[in-house]
Point group: C2
Amino acid sequence: LAEQWARNTTYPEGSIGRLMDPPHATFRPETTVGQAIEMLRSLVRTALITYGYVTDSDGRLLGLVTMRDLLFNDRANRLGDVMLKDPFALHPTLDVSDAMRLTLNRHFPVYPVTDEAGRLVGLVRGSVIFEEEAFEIAAQPGAMVGVEKEERIATPLFGSFKFRHPWLLINLVTAFAAGGVVAMFQGTVDKLVILATFLPVLAGQSGNTGCQALAVTVRGITLGEIKPGGAMKLVAKEFFLGMANGAVTGVLTGIAMYILAESQGSPHAALLGVVVCFAMMGSCAISGISGAIVPLTLKRLGADPATASSIVVTTATDVASMGLLLGLASLVIR
Amino acid sequence: LAEQWARNTTYPEGSIGRLMDPPHATFRPETTVGQAIEMLRSLVRTALITYGYVTDSDGRLLGLVTMRDLLFNDRANRLGDVMLKDPFALHPTLDVSDAMRLTLNRHFPVYPVTDEAGRLVGLVRGSVIFEEEAFEIAAQPGAMVGVEKEERIATPLFGSFKFRHPWLLINLVTAFAAGGVVAMFQGTVDKLVILATFLPVLAGQSGNTGCQALAVTVRGITLGEIKPGGAMKLVAKEFFLGMANGAVTGVLTGIAMYILAESQGSPHAALLGVVVCFAMMGSCAISGISGAIVPLTLKRLGADPATASSIVVTTATDVASMGLLLGLASLVIR
């Protein structure tokens, strides 16, 4: 067992190699069913044996025998003849999340793990893979906004502060980007102060649109649903979806702007309504694109697709929505 | 099998009862090991048998025998003497997520399911519980921003539109709440247009603070980490954490405000800096509270703690941050 643990630590963190139990109950193909039962008789007292594994003299995995095979086959049969040949095996360097996708439809209690040469190096319980992965996935909404995986409900106040504060400082820098956009157009806001009322409406709306696209994309990556070459299609879909959602909410927001501006006696009420409508459409389209592109890019860079993704997406949607609203207004209304 | 499916549909959606396989391989306690092996010999050809179950004449579960027990015990022994007595069993009305928490540290391949009278009504594979739950948990970041569980990468454009649009309309209504706050203080913004620049900074910062608290709380609920009576403690922790994070980022933002206002020749530069600092502290504290209270309340109401939680929390943080900034400014600077 100690030997197995030493071997496990040679594999990267988050890999299947880290989760391996020692491969008990290995036999040669020429062993008979009767011999295997006798060999197992003492072994089952000390270890939880689910399957027997058949290997050649170099330790290469040839097949797998179940207790059912041993119980219901003639004792004189050789394991090489009754075993399930070439069983499904995992590789020790595989990521736990990739292993989850491979085992999703298999539901075996235990998986053998073999190295590049096909040698049996350990066993991994299916439940352990899923348990690991359930914890990983449960950490995603937190990862998106800068909560470390390690933080739990029981983490003391100062521990939580240390975990979360660095991300909030990063968020502060990105929030200033949005503030900078407003500062750029301060003259426009000064002239048309009614625009300030609509800044949070557009930012909130495109922010949620972007986070919807983000959530769907992260989930698709997690469950292995994104096929090679499917990324462009996904981005295009989120673009059109953002535009469609932005068109409907844009018209409603544009009408609200028109009514409010009219009631304040603004000479530009109609034009302001149109500006708000187009700004909403544009910023929701940009939000859809960024919600899809950010996690896909993180994944391509080899990073966790959830990490800080929400911070990046909401910055993009803030900058896009406020920049479009104020930019369009300053262009059209002089 | 058809009979089991009919029985499963009598249990509520999302419950263990929905996931049950039929209980093959049930025996009486007086059956011998040898008899059980003979009875299993034909059964194992048609069904995947992992354990045998021992029940009394009313179908009440008494114990469980493994293939190892059958293989390594004398054939004349009675099952009642070799079985594991009173095995761990699940109840069919249990939520899958509660079942996950119960089975997290057991890792059995299959769990017997018994009704209130202790009768064996079906079997559930551990991997099925975890698989169901992994899908549920993977849907959480989406649920927070109004993406239905049913939506996948392959959902066609119009399908996605229909799923997401209702939530975006709800989000629009809540976004107008934030816009309404700015409209209320339009006079203040008109006088101190520099405040508009800091609206997105405060909103973005307190929004992310609130979403961190939200993510930690939802995860804690999912993993069963929140003890009875622990809710108040959690809310208090997030309040202090928000205040601490708000204090640090508030001072930084206050300094930025002072420098910008000073450079624009505002006579209120110092006062504006102080207002920004206190508004940030206050709104981050409120964000922390709402991030914890919203999922806890949803859970208490019997709803999924993730659903639309982000929409509610970001509205609260928008209203709090913009209301505090503009409200304080209008009070202090005349």
